[in-house]
Symmetry: D2
Subunit: 343 residues, 4 copies
């Protein structure tokens, strides 16, 4: 079957790879109907230790179940499902708490051995899904597949930011970064009652996108002023770093009020970050990292997108076939796209 | 000054009453800029033990501070403020918890001795406000007075229903009653992330109003079907009785799912209600009563209305002067109005 | 094998019944090491529609896994486990939320068809456990089996009362009923930070038991005074009915403060209860029913009993063999025992 | 009157200072009955920019009101009260949320200008208390003054650690540091339902003290092993740094499980701390700073100490008169005392 694979640093390619089959009793095979390219995939594009050439990429998918292992009782061939971007056993101490990311069986689709044992990705015609009764969720009637595909990753990340930041109705939230995750964060925070969301990005088109969908957009240099104007100079109640790396996190720390919370849902690969501890002590700050959990949050997010409370598809800037995915990676890397769906 | 007073069961009237003055160090005198007639006022219109003829009615107001007692340090003459519909000391065990309704100093404006010692109401040119640094809140810049007036009562009730019901993002909520409080409940539940709000009312125009503002409207006879359709037959996660009395509460109990919560923000004057206890046990139901608290919820609600997340003025069907208020009571009693503001 | 069965209203008996075997891939067979007789079993003793003669009784057990179905990957023969008193699939919408009691696969051990399809009980040498990877939990190292047996029912009920009542550190809690569930409620509320627990019972020996283990004991007639003394006359923050039926619930309602919560973890079979609705409205009361969930709460309760924070065995008044169980039912019915373990 | 003042770096002294009087309508004058020396005071002893020679030290006190300003209605001469260690207005946006530390009127008793405008301390015969109806709380009947004095600072810090860490019943908590605040944290976490508290300290006598009062004591070098043994190798759910500075915080970070929370209630004066951000991202850690709030937490803590659920006096190693306080500072600095009360 056709699949998008990591070729070499800077290049992904279309390849012919073996079709997956059931390997374990809780496996399901899913024909991918809607896939996507994620900002996280750009780490793979640029090359990351643990991602070998030939790795099938991609971790976002909605599809149709075409085969099921013997132990699956809650999924049937023909079911329309959305996948979480990572697997979990659904049975252990961590999974019972809803902390699936810590499960010993966690594997991240299409990301080599970076976050657990390798598992071929979903930018392909078919994908094998371990622990499928945990990792997959059935789409409710009327749930648009293009919206549902966000539930497995980007929207889960955005919602997790709101959850982990403790966004409460009436709060002012700032979001650093207007890529897909930042935009999802803006939508999620609005959905749960933020009085105002300030989205901060360098790029005017990303600010415009956010502003069209309920946020107040600000360039980095004016962001503190915008937040101060909204909060009598206090700072934002919750600030979300939706980019990752030191600079955005630093920007986020600069926008938060005393006793406020900075949540980072971006990826961090530096060993340490010089956290302003004297200020954090004197102002009782919180810094929390969070990875979206499309298993724990699935039912709730599917309800929100099925009923149209959140429409994540507003960030889609391109819909392409599998063969056009390599080119889409490049455009995404150059910030020419916000979100690319694969149909 | 002119004021609306209770005349006799079935009749309120415009009267000339003495202008209030400072009586205690924490008193403020407020010139009323926006008042309102509330569904609760109809209990007064119909006559209720404890409301004497001559009682100045009304408990919703936005106004301007024109005089302050000696102990007030946080309010100044000229401040634009919204009042809570009842008073509380702000210092006692109850107030420190945010349970202002239980404060021994609680008095309800314009409602005789029904809920504490009598206190003249706000359907008047001026109103005296005890414990004013607790009972009044300053309007944020840009906050529309007509929206703010809802913060002291109707919107506080609607929001309290969401809070007390534990409405969580993704929930399906049913609201019984499409008067002002029911409509506020619908808006508040949407604001905090309900996936769907089903508003149930007999009157087509109230259903239409709700539907224009994000709810799914249903007549009582089809309400369970509508809820079942949205919830795979489970019932609503949270159901709000926004009317009061036995019948609406019964309807509410009929819409809730197992382990769900019924919240009543309507008034109840019957001694007992035959609660379906065998079912409540077997399905682990919760039944909670709640009275809006425009003190505890004020900052959060003002943030939501100032930023336009909730626009409570969508329920306003008439704006009248003080002299037209008696007629407005009648129209409200006949369900010809949803909400009447007094300008 | 030997088992305790319902014989006729008023009589249970020891009987010889077929040994159970695996019937479904997620079944496990457990050799019972510690069983128990529960207050709930007395409803069976007295006869309840749905419980046929010959029904194997009992729903509390700790044991050793002796056989496992093909789909079980997290349990092994030889594992020491505690069972929940009811089954749930662990996969559906309800189970994913932790609301296992509402699962369509719910069956209550040893209780005929009262709460789902019949399932032979655990007052026997062996018990078959459906959905065993959900219904059973492994005992942590060092966890005493006699303490663990409470996790599946009585302690889960007591803890659920604390949870559902929202008991917060510093609260004053009243518990109506000093049977095993009432005593567990007292221990659970103390464990989560209640400042004071008042346990109300008619029987001096049950009051003495509670008093030995941290509660303040009160006879019904003086209970309100005791609560008032502790709360400046306000009433208890949370009151738990740990008996069931109208009278204890009424007593509970009489002890709660304004804005407080009454939780009932007792069984109710009357169609309706005359709930004091005018007072409930004016004082914003909550009434919540709750059934212990030994699945959702298991990990947390096992941690508490393994570390000795809660020692549920303090209520054990007799330890008997299977053949002495019929006599123990009688003594329990006559309030001569608080809790009987079967070894 | 006599008071303990900062003399020069390394030396505090007894001095004669003017008796305070009412300066503002919400002031109260309190005759100190029980004072204390706090680990925080050692920063003053060692010299800290902002603390001038002659500064009256001390921020913990229980006493009797001897004079009240004109605007105080809830306090009377003769009331027995406990003070918070810092002041707050009780009226502003921050105070209304319970975030008193951020109040613009915040002043820390006896600490110069380090945390707000200077305010003479309570290691003296009398202390002036601004905003006294917010800053002081009346002792409940039966509340021992020596226990109550902890409510204003050390116990508030320990409890805040539990609160901010989200300690839930059944959790395993590690506490780094066995001084007064660490011991309070241990007691508070146990009170709210921790299954196990591991207290880590270099000094055997501090470990022994913790062990006598319910904690599992560990030396730093074996602390991770002890935590692993309790948690199947996962790490602690919540870790509290009760010391401050880089090393203890580092130790704390080394004990926390994935998705766990480190709370620091110690003081930090370094500009930055090298936070392990790659790990924090991959394991979704939280880092939260917290300062005890003896205003927000007062009612709850007074209930817990009055009812004997927490007995903070177990850490008292000396009770001295005012003239012996300078010597006590030295012994405390040399770790020869855990907590010194001033009677």
């Amino acid at each position: 079957m056709r699949a998008v694979v990591f070729a070499e640093p800077g290049r992904v390619a279309l390849a012919d790879v073996p079709e997956p089959g059931i390997e374990a009793p809780r496996d399901a095979i899913v024909r991918v109907l809607v896939g996507a390219v994620c900002g996280t995939d750009l780490h793979a594009l640029h090359g990351l230790p643990g991602i070998e050439p030939g790795t099938t990429l991609g971790h976002e998918f909605v599809g149709e179940v075409v085969a099921t292992g013997a132990a699956l009782t809650t999924l049937r061939v023909g079911d329309r499902v959305v996948g979480s971007d990572f697997t979990a056993c659904g049975r252990c101490w961590w999974c019972r708490r809803g902390d699936h990311w810590e499960c010993a069986e966690r594997r991240f689709f299409g990301f080599g051995s970076v976050f657990g044992a390798p598992l071929p990705g979903a930018q392909a015609e078919f994908v094998r899904v371990p622990h499928a009764d945990t990792v997959l969720g059935r789409l409710p009637d009327g749930c648009p597949p293009e919206a549902a595909v966000f539930v497995g990753d980007n929207l889960a990340s955005g919602y997790t930011a709101a959850e982990r930041g403790g966004v409460a109705p009436g709060d002012t939230v700032a979001v650093v970064g207007g890529g897909a995750v930042g935009q999802m964060t803006s939508l999620a925070c609005q959905a749960v009652g933020a009085a105002a969301v300030v989205l901060v990005d360098l790029l005017p088109e990303r600010r415009a996108l956010a502003a069209r969908h309920g946020a107040i957009a600000a360039a980095p240099e004016s962001s503190r002023d915008v937040v101060d104007e909204l909060t009598d100079g206090r700072g934002a109640d919750v600030v979300v770093d939706a980019v990752g790396g030191a600079r955005p996190l630093e920007t986020a720390c600069g926008l938060v009020r005393g006793r406020g919370t900075v949540v980072s849902v971006g990826a961090h690969f530096d060993a340490t970050f010089p956290y302003p501890v004297a200020r954090a002590f004197a102002e009782e700050l919180s810094l929390r990292f969070a990875i979206g959990d499309g298993i724990r949050l699935r039912d709730r997010l599917l309800a929100l997108v099925t009923n149209g409370v959140i429409d994540p598809t507003v960030v889609v800037t391109a819909r392409v076939g599998l063969d056009a995915v390599p080119a889409a990676y490049q455009r995404l890397a150059e910030h020419q796209e916000v979100k690319v769906l694969i149909l």
